[in-house]
Symmetry: C2
Subunit: 140 residues, 2 copies
DNA sequence: TCCGCCGGTTAGACAGAGTCCAATACTGGC
DNA sequence: GCCAGTATTGGACTCTGTCTAACCGGCGGA
């Protein structure tokens, strides 16, 4: 794991390795808070500030992606292959959609002087029986 | 404007009408805070709580849409025709993309027991010269 | 060995968006 | 005009994320 960080130009401190371990061993979507909890679960030793610093660093170095989907919290995604998401507006859970099958056609040209930074597709879903969507996210 | 609210099953109180006026007269994207400011620009007449209550109500009644694009604040969109967005990650500005030309192909079937609630496409852009963004998402 | 540098970490204060609550004001139907 | 139910309100509160200033520790140089 330390090597993986080194390969991405990140000096592998103890804390960073712990955080990377949480992110990459279980290939899931995490909030900063969940990572803070997971890392400190056994016996605690990473601060909130470091978690935020480290996540920001990992995003910069493209080890993870930041997902803006839930109005209340940012989610970090250790899967950096191109993909999109199903978002269950009731439970708040995310499911990956591999991008290689997906094709988007008919997008207009970018505004002048701009270049694309990425295309995100979010398919919002809800359980069949659920009355309707009023408020997103009801975690757990 | 009162009629427009009544037509959507909303009793048109003064506050709601004021808020609706801000949203629909200028056809732009607004944050809750901007609306609070706009409505109270002349002299204070609507409280923060009411702005949030009303926006939530309007979303429920489908007079406006909620856009989750910026990590720090929700944006409300008075344009309810199907459309997507360019998002300038540097300036934060949003531009509409009419949906009628856009076609998405190859999406996998929904997870079992789920129905789609909508598909959002966000094309993140940045100015040509801008040194790259530390911010959101980097697919493709 | 000792020293000083410097990147990394930290606690806790802080900021901003949004929610909650209990009291009060208003609206609409009669 | 009265009343019941609905809407509004200020203010306290929560939560996520940021900032700051102190501190820690590894490493190179003398």
């Amino acid at each position: 794991m330390a090597d993986r960080l080194r390969a991405n130009d990140i000096s592998p401190t103890h804390q960073r390795v712990e955080i990377a371990r949480v992110l990459f061993e279980r290939q899931e979507h995490f909030t900063a808070d969940q990572i803070l909890g997971s890392v400190n679960a056994r016996h605690a030793e990473v601060s909130k500030a470091t978690v935020y610093n480290t996540l920001k660093l990992f995003v910069e170095k493209k080890l993870i992606r930041e997902l803006i989907i839930d109005p209340t919290r940012v989610v970090y995604d250790p899967n950096t292959t191109p993909h999109h998401h199903f978002y269950d507006t009731v439970s708040g859970s995310l499911t990956d959609i591999p991008a290689d099958q997906v094709r988007v056609m008919g997008l207009p040209p970018l505004p002048p002087g701009m270049i694309a930074d990425g295309v995100d597709i979010i398919v919002r879903t809800r359980p069949l029986n659920e009355p309707a969507m009023s408020g997103p996210t009801q975690p757990e």
